[in-house]
């Protein structure tokens, strides 16, 4: 599965339409999905990617990293970064409520498993999704970068966006953002002065 996904990621990067159909076929299998809410929308990740769920109980801010990284937490001795999905999707910071949760997911990077926390508004449930209920993302309308989406799952009357964790956390593109933004800082400083 992971390999298949990785292949798909590459093909998406190449922008081959035919390939993305292939990707869809490969995810069109019966699977279990953990669903969670983010700004009143329901998203899902395949349960095999999920390592654990933890209640939000504060975290340490990391200096000089982009805003989509909310901070780091101490997960039994390992320092795990937490990504604010809402910020990544819509440039708005997630509100922390009593229901806020961190979903620890595993992704592969250069063959090694790395753990990342996803900050979500609330975790719902684990559901079974059958292959025939999964459809490709629409050309537009989700308000999300299409690469972030693996597929759309129709569950009862609801539509759940299945996230492409491998792509989402393939930080090649994202970590280039982590370079310190001198210019931005200067502008900001000018405003306040």
């Amino acid at each position: 599965m992971a390999e298949a996904l990785e292949q798909n990621v590459t093909s998406i990067e190449k922008g081959e339409g035919e390939e993305s159909k292939k990707r869809l076929r490969s995810i069109q299998k019966d699977q279990q999905v953990l669903t969670f809410e983010l700004d009143q929308e329901t998203f899902g990740v395949e349960i095999l990617k999920v390592k654990e769920l933890i209640e939000y109980s504060g975290m340490t801010k990391v200096p000089m990293v982009p805003d989509y990284i909310r901070g780091v937490i101490n997960l039994r001795g390992s320092v795990v970064p937490v990504v604010d999905l809402l910020y990544l999707f819509s440039r708005r910071k997630s509100e922390i409520t009593k229901k806020s949760c961190i979903v620890i997911v595993e992704s592969l990077r250069e063959g090694e498993a790395i753990y990342t926390g996803l900050l979500v508004d609330t975790v719902n449930e684990v559901i079974d999704v059958s292959a025939r209920d999964i459809e490709p993302p629409p050309a537009f309308g989700t308000n999300l970068k299409t690469d972030f989406i693996l597929g759309m799952a129709k569950v009862q009357e609801e539509i759940i966006i299945l996230l492409n964790i491998e792509y989402l956390l393939s930080f090649d593109e994202l970590s280039s953002l982590s370079q310190f933004d001198f210019h931005g800082l200067y502008e900001e400083a000018k405003k306040t002065e």
Binding site: M59, T60, K61, V62, P63, M64, V65, I69, V72, I73, N74, R76, G77, S78, V79, V80, P81, R109, E112, I114, T116, L169, F171, L174, S175, S178, F180, F182, H183, L185, Y186, E188, A189, K191, T192, E193
Partner: protein, 693 residues
């Protein structure tokens, strides 16, 4: 008579395919590596003391084991090459040839060659031809060197085994053809011991021609007593080749425990062998006693006290134990709050056990430094020979233990220092005699524990550093100003500065300092430090201080807003309370430190992008830090004091964050960031510059 095994069938009996099992192959490579190291050590000892029979024997055994195992694993090119060296050693051992410096030199080169062969053994089949070419050359010079000391009985034993694979028939016409009758009776347990006799029989073809093999099956028991895991067979081999009895014997040496072997020379073709053959028959029973080398091959794994463990597993264990320490502390805390005496007692007991577990877990990563030290014997040997100097290396404290990662990374800087000492420290032999010193220079490599740190010293009794010259050069290169008054020690330690290393310092210390800045950088990267002391004419002492383990850092904990940071303790000069003037706009980031103008970095502004001029209402402090000659203050909200912490790398997703060198978890479970003072100062500077560009 049983069915005979024909040539074609023998052809199919391949030795163990090296790619078959990665694990077995790795064990093989490690084992050969150990023997190669042993060979090197022993040769260097023999150079000093050629009379040592013990060393000679162990040298022989090492070559012998390498030959045997590489053959078993199908690396024939290695076993073939090693064979010649081994043969030469047989002669040395029997006293036919003296061990000369020249011979040792060639044997060292042979050892290197085997190492090269090992390195590429995985794709060896492609490059084999070239390697064999060089191997041949060395084999010839072995014969030349050993032949230089003439001995009457030499020729038969020294002749390198020609690779007969190409034309076995040709050997029939050679001068001393010989026919042999070999009887091999396998013991029942041979398979249980993991030995496959067929490749060994097959190898015989390299020595000559197998004319006929007859299987002896007379000891096969009746069907009800037959055990399929046991061997009941024997072979009678009709063999033809220009070899000595010993060669054949050696071929079967691996089977000597598990088979009865009889080798008879047949006198029909050769006029001389009968007495030799007769003698052979009598000698075999005692000659095929197992040697030490063989024991290593077969029982080494079971007998070894050491366990090879993936270092990742240990790291994981260490992480878990760190976690355990924290949980233990929490329980202790609860017990105190709840005022539950019996719980507090148990928690205290638990805490003690946990801290013991922690200590012994950390020790798992510790490795004696001796392994690295022995490597330098060779370096000193080769280098001093090249330079025509006499240098002796003495190592002390080989058993001192260091973290494995530290050991791996200290090797290069040490190598550099030792080369430096041989090259520039130790004088020419003539000069030494002139100065009334012993003609042989001494370099001492010493490791010991000191107050929780490991000290490694490289001491030479050479010319020493010329303080005057360094001072002059430093001024010339604008490293220091002429007015600066520096102690002798401070001047000497300037040789680690990059400015001095680019140019050569004249005369006696020429080149001393080339690359020393790199040495210092590498050692600093390990959280260590290095300094030099020297006396002109007496010698130089480099003193490297390393932390016991890479995993921890002595730091000073500070707080900026909600986040805690660790500043490496050795960069902190002092801490002061920061008082802003009433009308301070917060725009000026410098202060007057006892007459010195000290720029400071407002960490809150830098890290949290707080706007310029946001003046804190609470008390603020300045931590004065200095690294690589750069000095600055850090404006922080709170000083929390010294602490020791475990360093964890920044997560992959962060890549490199300027100003931070790692992450750590505090005793409370909080995450804190380790500041990289050097890059922090650079960051602040470039930030300010960018405002005006």
């Amino acid at each position: 008579m049983g069915p005979s095994l024909d040539e074609e069938f023998l052809q199919e009996l391949r030795p163990v395919n090296p790619m078959e099992s990665q694990d077995v192959l790795e064990t093989f490579i490690t084992e050969v590596g150990e023997h190669l190291q042993a060979i090197e050590n022993v040769l260097l000892v023999l150079e000093e003391n050629p009379e040592s029979t013990d060393d000679l024997n162990s040298l022989f055994r090492s070559f012998h084991t390498i030959k045997g195992t590489s053959e078993m694993f199908g690396f024939r090119h290695i076993s073939e090459f090693t064979h010649t060296a081994e043969t030469t050693l047989v002669r040395v051992r029997s006293g036919e040839t003296p061990i000369t410096p020249g011979l040792i030199e060639v044997l060292l080169k042979c050892r290197d060659h085997i190492a090269t062969l090992m390195d590429i053994s995985e794709d060896a089949f492609l490059r084999r031809i070239d390697l064999q070419g060089y191997g041949k050359e060395l084999q010839e010079s072995l014969v030349r060197e050993a032949g230089a000391a003439p001995s009457p009985a030499a020729p038969a034993a020294v002749t390198p085994v020609p690779p007969k694979i190409t034309a076995p028939e040709a050997s029939v016409t050679e001068k001393r053809p010989s026919d042999w009758q070999i009887t091999l009776r396998l013991k029942e347990d041979v398979f249980i011991h993991g030995l496959d006799p067929l490749p060994i029989i097959r190898y015989l073809k390299n020595l000559g021609t197998i004319r006929k093999i007859v299987t002896l099956y007379d000891s096969i028991p009746s069907a009800e007593n037959y055990n399929p895991e046991k061997s009941y067979l024997g072979f009678e081999i009709d063999f033809h080749g220009t070899v000595s009895r010993k060669d054949i014997e050696e071929n079967f040496e691996f089977l000597s425990d598990d088979a009865e072997i009889r080798i008879e020379g047949i006198s029909a073709v050769v006029p001389s062998p009968p007495p030799e053959a007769k003698e052979a028959m009598e000698e075999i029973p005692k000659e095929v006693q197992p040697t030490e080398g063989m024991r290593i091959g077969k029982k080494g794994v079971a007998a070894s006290k050491n366990l090879r463990v993936d270092s990742e597993r240990i790291d994981h264990l260490i992480n878990l134990v760190g976690e355990l320490v924290m949980s233990g502390a929490q329980i202790n805390q609860i017990a105190t709050v709840e005022k539950n005496t019996s719980l507090a007692e148990s928690a205290y007991h638990l805490g003690r056990i946990i801290s013991e577990i922690r200590e012994s877990t950390l020790r798992l990563r510790m490795v004696p430094v001796g392994g690295v030290f022995t490597r330098f014997n060779r370096v000193v040997h080769d280098l001093s020979r090249n330079l025509g100097k006499e240098v002796m290396l003495i190592t002390m404290g080989d058993e001192t233990e260091l973290d494995k990662t530290v050991i791996e990374q200290i090797s290069d800087p040490l190598m550099h220092l030792i080369r430096n000492s041989v090259d520039h420290g130790i004088e020419e032999t003539a000069t030494r005699i002139e100065h009334g010193k012993s003609p042989t220079g001494t370099i001492t490599l010493k490791a010991y524990n000191e107050a929780g740190d490991i000290i490694i010293e490289v001491v030479d009794d050479g010319a020493g550093l010329d303080v005057e010259q360094i001072h002059k050069k430093a001024i010339q290169n604008e490293l220091i100003s002429p007015s600066q008054s520096l102690s002798k020690k401070e001047i000497m330690n300037l040789i680690f500065e990059p400015g001095l290393s680019t140019a050569k310092i004249v005369t006696s210390i020429s080149g001393r300092g080339v690359g020393l800045d790199v040495v210092k950088k590498n050692i600093t990267a390990l959280n260590g430090s290095v300094e030099v002391e020297s006396e002109v004419g007496t010698g130089t002492r480099f003193r490297i201080k390393l932390p016991l383990t890479l995993a921890t850092i002595d730091g000073f904990l500070i707080r900026v807003a909600d986040t805690k940071y660790v500043v490496p303790l050795d960069t902190i000069k002092e801490c002061i309370e920061f008082e802003r003037k009433e009308d301070d706009s917060g725009r000026r980031n410098f202060l007057n430190l006892r007459g010195e103008i000290l720029p400071f970095i407002n960490l809150k502004e830098l890290f949290l992008r707080a706007g310029k001029g946001s003046i804190a209402t609470e008390r603020e402090y300045i931590a004065v830090v200095q690294q690589s000659g750069k000095k600055a203050g850090l404006l922080v909200d709170e000083l929390l004091g010294e602490m020791q912490s475990v360093i964890k790398p920044l997560s992959v997703i962060f890549g490199k964050i300027n100003g931070l060198s790692g992450i750590t978890i505090l005793g409370s479970g909080e995450v804190a960031f380790i500041l990289d003072v050097h890059s922090l100062i650079d960051l602040a500077r470039s930030r300010e510059e960018s405002r005006f560009s």
